[in-house]
Amino acid sequence: MSVNSFNKEDPGTAFELKADSFTLPFLRLLSTDADSVAKQLAEKFSQAPDFFRNTPVVIDMKVVADGENRVELAWLAGLLRSYGMIPVGIRGGNEAHNESAAALKLSVLSEGRARKTVTKKPPVDLSDATTKSTDSVLRETTVITRPVRSGQRVYAAGGDLVIVASVGSGAELIADGNIHVYGTLRGRALAGVGGNRECRIFCNNLQAELVSVAGTYRVSENLDATMGGKPVHIYLDNNSLKIDAI
């Protein structure tokens, strides 16, 4: 048999080009100060190193686009890569940003469209309107009704994550907001990864491998054994993770 006969497919059917939509995390730059960006990123990384590994990320320049100071995109992309992330594009940048993105082989993306998630209006009570909130944008809730299996990772960007099923060991839940699991939580749950210390984790049956709120975490070895198998909520109380029975 000749070597060629191994690949006698029509070259016209070697691939299909199709469109699909993906949910990507984005990093919204709020400052052009390199040092503070680097510092915050280092903190974030130490909170959830797994989250960064091989994760594609979009850089959102909207807030800094009109500023005086230039943002060194090349530097920022390099920094993200050094943490294992894969910068894939920018959005909301000015013309200079878009040009340097092109030079860096990053794509220039337009604003995202509304996703197919349940949208929750911000609470009517605006008593905390004084606390300057960077996420006064829509808080979205992501609802998952099928089991989250080992090896799957769900990230609820900018809002809460609700799982109406169980979460297998080796599965990972990540949310900028709260995490609710109405089945058994066997995998990992990281709430408030954006740094919101008010976030909580609720689950019907705690058998987690790791739980974390705003970077303060506890692994299963250090979980109170008396709480195992019980419905609990988990929250931060003065820098330490509290686990209470519901």
């Binding site: 191994f6 006698k8 497919e9 089991p147 299996r149 080992s150 060991s169 599965a171 058994t184 066997r186």
Partner: protein, 241 residues
């Protein structure tokens, strides 16, 4: 055995053994990869089972690399088979590599076979995750693959000793419909060594368990068996195990 025209495809390219278990290894001329590459047509490659007129086997290739299974090629062969067969059964290799992803990509239903061990259950959970996200149905946003659980090598005695997971634990962890529990049985090894599928052993527990599995899959509502410790018969008790 229920009279449905069925074909079984071995997706374990390189580690062909389905034909051994089915006892048709000496009749293999062409294999799955030959058909995908157009070197043989399906009629030439399909081997009719000696015992059941409605059952055909498409053996895996012993010599090729698993990447010979292209998605387009597998899809084409499955399409052609589905015109002629009521059920096309894809025997997936273990693991989450190419052969397994090809076997499940076009599936409508999936039967996940697991042993009552933590590691096996965890692997199944991972496999189910892939089923839920990387299949054709998932990519086209169609109704998801129907998933069933088959628990094999179950030994109520060892469950009692705490050496195995209980069937209820496995069900709870995987959250799937249980199609059946096959007890640990020497008959399975004997059957595969002699090339006679164990389901043909109508007297043995394993054979009965597999028959139940088939009937439940076809929609029958049967109580589960072989999950309690069997009382030994009088002689068994008198003369030890």
């Amino acid at each position: 055995m229920k009279g449905h025209r069925s074909a079984v495809i071995d997706f374990d390219v390189g580690l062909r053994n389905l034909d051994l278990i089915m006892g048709c290894e000496r009749r293999v001329v062409y294999d799955f990869v030959n058909v995908i590459n157009g070197e043989a047509n399906l009629n030439q490659a399909l081997i009719r089972d000696k015992r059941s007129d409605n059952l055909y086997v498409l053996p895996a290739s012993q010599t090729r690399d698993k990447h010979a299974l292209t998605q387009e090629g597998v899809g084409r062969v499955l399409e052609e088979l589905s015109e002629d067969f009521e059920y096309v059964i894809c025997d997936s290799p273990a693991g989450i590599e190419h052969g397994a992803t090809m076997a499940m990509y076009f599936a409508d239903d999936a039967i996940v076979v697991t042993n009552p061990e933590v590691s096996s259950v965890r692997d199944s959970d991972r496999m189910l995750g892939i089923l839920a996200s990387k299949s054709r149905r998932a990519e086209n946003n169609e109704e998801p693959i129907k998933e069933y659980l088959l628990l094999s090598r179950y030994s109520p005695e060892r469950v009692k000793e705490g050496e195995m997971l209980h069937v209820e634990d496995v069900k709870e962890i995987l959250a799937l419909q249980l199609l059946g529990v096959v007890p640990e049985s020497k008959a399975v090894l004997t059957a595969s060594n002699s090339g006679v599928p164990v389901i043909l052993d109508k007297e043995g527990d394993a054979g009965k368990a597999y028959m139940d599995v088939v009937e439940r899959y076809l929609g029958e509502d049967l109580p589960h068996r072989f999950i309690e410790i069997q009382k030994k018969k009088l002689f068994g008790r008198l003369f030890g195990r």
